[in-house]
């Protein structure tokens, strides 16, 4: 699932680098808080373990094929979410530098796809709640398989979005999705089973390892910021993705006003600077007119959705975040009262 530089546009690569950088900065900050010095060599060694562990091919019975572990959920269960995320990022960087396994500009996207979902989203929201009541083989199995599968599906979905937003491949959204999701569902289940095996073994031999990483949670600040962010993301995705398709093609308020005044919804500017600027914009706009660049000049529904997704997501996160936080804090206060 490592993405290459060639399949991304600078804009998408840049956005994902920024997103991952933010996540890394946050994880580093959290690690400073609840990490003791001893964990630092442990994280380094775990990075090497995951790196070496990914070289182990295991045979999948019945298929004649082999696979290898990814390790996001496994690491999070052993080290805690924030150290695990840093370790995965490190491994991906080394793989990109030494093995050309994923590009450098694509590193942000790869860290996000393969580290963020598993360590910072799925582990705290799905894995931890299931095993919180106690580690039994069944709970570990359910938690592992569910977490790994969802994390992988999230990563695969992001790969599709990032590739399409870059406009490099002509693969239609539905086809790409149809290829990626089932494969990663299968991979997820297999890796989930292997993760279960490993965690059950570790728990039997040294239960304190799993239990201590569970306790290492941040001091409650009265609000689960993560729950808020997830809700916002889902909301924005629904809004941007689904509803933008229903967007009206009638001129919006401003265009309608312009039509009344100038007789046209667009002012055509001519002259040297405008032409040059238009040229630059033509080459740099990744989603002109909210659609993907296409050779026959017609937009595509998928393009509108993705552009809508990105734009809506950002706007909603900024604007809606304030309102939701106020609402959630109020609800928490009512609960504890």
């Amino acid at each position: 699932m490592h993405m290459a530089d060639a399949l991304l546009s600078p804009a998408v690569g840049g956005i994902m680098l920024a997103a991952s950088a933010g996540a890394i900065a946050y994880s580093a900050y959290k690690c400073k808080d609840d990490l003791d010095e001893k964990k630092i060599p442990l994280m380094g060694v775990m990075g090497a373990v995951i790196f070496a562990g990914q070289m182990i091919n295991f045979t999948i019975p019945g298929t004649g094929s082999s696979g290898h572990i990814g390790g996001g959920i496994l690491l999070a269960a052993l080290l805690g979410p924030f150290p695990a995320f840093l370790v995965i990022s490190t491994v991906l960087l080394i793989q990109a530098l030494f093995f050309a396994d994923g590009g450098l500009l694509a590193l942000g996207a790869n860290i996000w796809n393969m580290g963020f979902y598993a360590c910072l989203l799925v582990y705290p929201l799905i894995f931890k709640p299931i095993v919180k009541k106690g580690f039994t083989p069944r709970r570990i199995a359910v938690a592992s398989i569910l977490s790994v599968t969802i994390a992988l599906l999230g990563g695969a979905f992001s790969v599709v979005l990032e590739t399409l937003a870059s406009g490099i491949t002509e693969l239609p959204f539905a086809t790409f999705l149809g290829l990626m999701m089932p494969i990663h569902l299968a991979i997820g289940i297999i890796e989930g089973i292997v993760t279960t095996g490993v965690l059950v073994f570790v728990y039997k031999m040294r239960p304190e390892i799993l239990e201590s990483s569970l306790i290492n949670k941040k001091i409650a600040s009265g609000l689960s910021l993560k729950k808020v962010s997830v809700m916002l993301l889902i909301f924005a995705a629904l809004l941007g993705g689904g509803f933008s398709l229903l967007a009206s093609s009638n001129p919006d308020g401003l265009e309608w006003a312009m039509k009344g005044v100038a007789g046209t919804t667009q002012i055509i500017a001519t002259g040297g600077v405008h032409d040059n600027a238009a040229e630059v914009q033509k080459t740099t706009a990744i989603l002109p007119d909210y659609g993907f660049k296409s050779t026959d000049g017609q937009g595509s529904a998928a393009g509108t959705s993705v552009a809508g997704l990105m734009g809506a997501g950002l706007t909603l996160l900024l604007a809606g975040g304030t309102g939701y936080i106020i609402y959630a804090v109020k609800r928490k206060k009512e609960k504890s009262a």
Binding site: A28, S66, I69, E170, G197
Partner: protein, 265 residues
């Protein structure tokens, strides 16, 4: 296990290459980092149908490899491994876009074909760019530059520690794997039902190893701060190289050299 020994050899050979003393190796690591990133950004900024402008960017890796005396065979081997995924992405383009762009004699060239070549060329260039960076700059130097650009200390420490221990862990995994295979004659890999114990054992041994490493570091004065060798400050020649290379790359991006040359024919 051949994949493991391959990885060990790759890392060792790149490490060795990076210790050479050519003019490129002696450049300040920040210069190489900046020019590599700029190169990557410019290469992937080409739209999928602009292949002529893209081709010119071959100058950068070719010249650098020559100046840095990097053996091309191992680099090409690494490149070949990275190509297949881009190949399939490109092939799908040929299938999905069959609008004809122009005719080459009697052969119709579709937009899909053009974008296929664009993807392949971009892959080659970007992979070479990164490999040249790592073949001319030791990872400790790159890590220090990451610190300079304010990457959190803890992750830079992780990079250094992971890098240090990869060969140790690879050897351990190799031993464990060999021990397993010797006892399971017909197995082509670890059986899935044994993965739990295999990886579990590896993890437990690694936890103990990490604890010993921590004690060893403490005995040598570790106080939470990993120590780095600070490289020499940037010289005038470093600045000249960086600025002129960046200027040339940016110029090549916006001025289509291929068409310019072709217009003389």
């Amino acid at each position: 296990m051949s994949a493991i020994t391959d990885s060990m050899n790759t890392i060792h050979s790149l490490e060795e290459m990076a210790e050479a003393k050519t003019i490129i190796h002696r450049l300040h690591p920040m210069v190489k980092l900046v020019t590599t990133m700029l190169y990557l950004v410019l290469v992937i900024s080409f739209n999928p149908y602009d292949v002529t402008g893209l081709i010119v960017f071959l100058f950068y890796p070719v010249i650098l490899m020559a100046l840095a005396e990097i053996p091309y065979k191992p680099l090409l081997k690494r490149l070949l491994i990275a190509l297949p995924f881009s190949f399939f992405a490109g092939i799908s383009n040929i299938y999905f876009n069959q609008n004809i762009a122009f005719m080459l004699g009697n052969i119709p060239i579709t937009f899909g074909v053009i974008s296929f070549f664009s993807i392949m060329i971009k892959t080659v260039y970007t992979v070479m760019g990164v490999l040249i960076l790592i073949a001319t700059t030791p990872l400790p130097q790159i890590s220090y530059q990451l610190l300079v650009i304010k990457v959190p200390k803890i992750i830079v420490e992780q990079i250094m520690l992971t890098y240090r221990y990869i060969s140790v862990l690879l050897e351990q995994v190799s031993n464990m794997y060999t021990a397993y295979i010797l006892r399971a004659p017909d197995a082509k890999g670890i059986k899935m039902k044994d993965m739990g114990i295999f990886v579990g054992q590896l993890l437990l041994k690694s936890f103990d190893r990490a604890e010993n490493i921590y004690f060893a570091m403490k005995c040598r004065g570790y106080d939470g701060n990993y120590l780095y060798a600070k490289p020499d400050p940037m010289k005038k020649s470093d600045w000249i190289f960086m600025l002129s290379t960046c200027a040339m790359l940016i110029l090549l991006r916006f001025f289509n050299l291929s068409q310019f040359i072709g217009s003389f024919l």
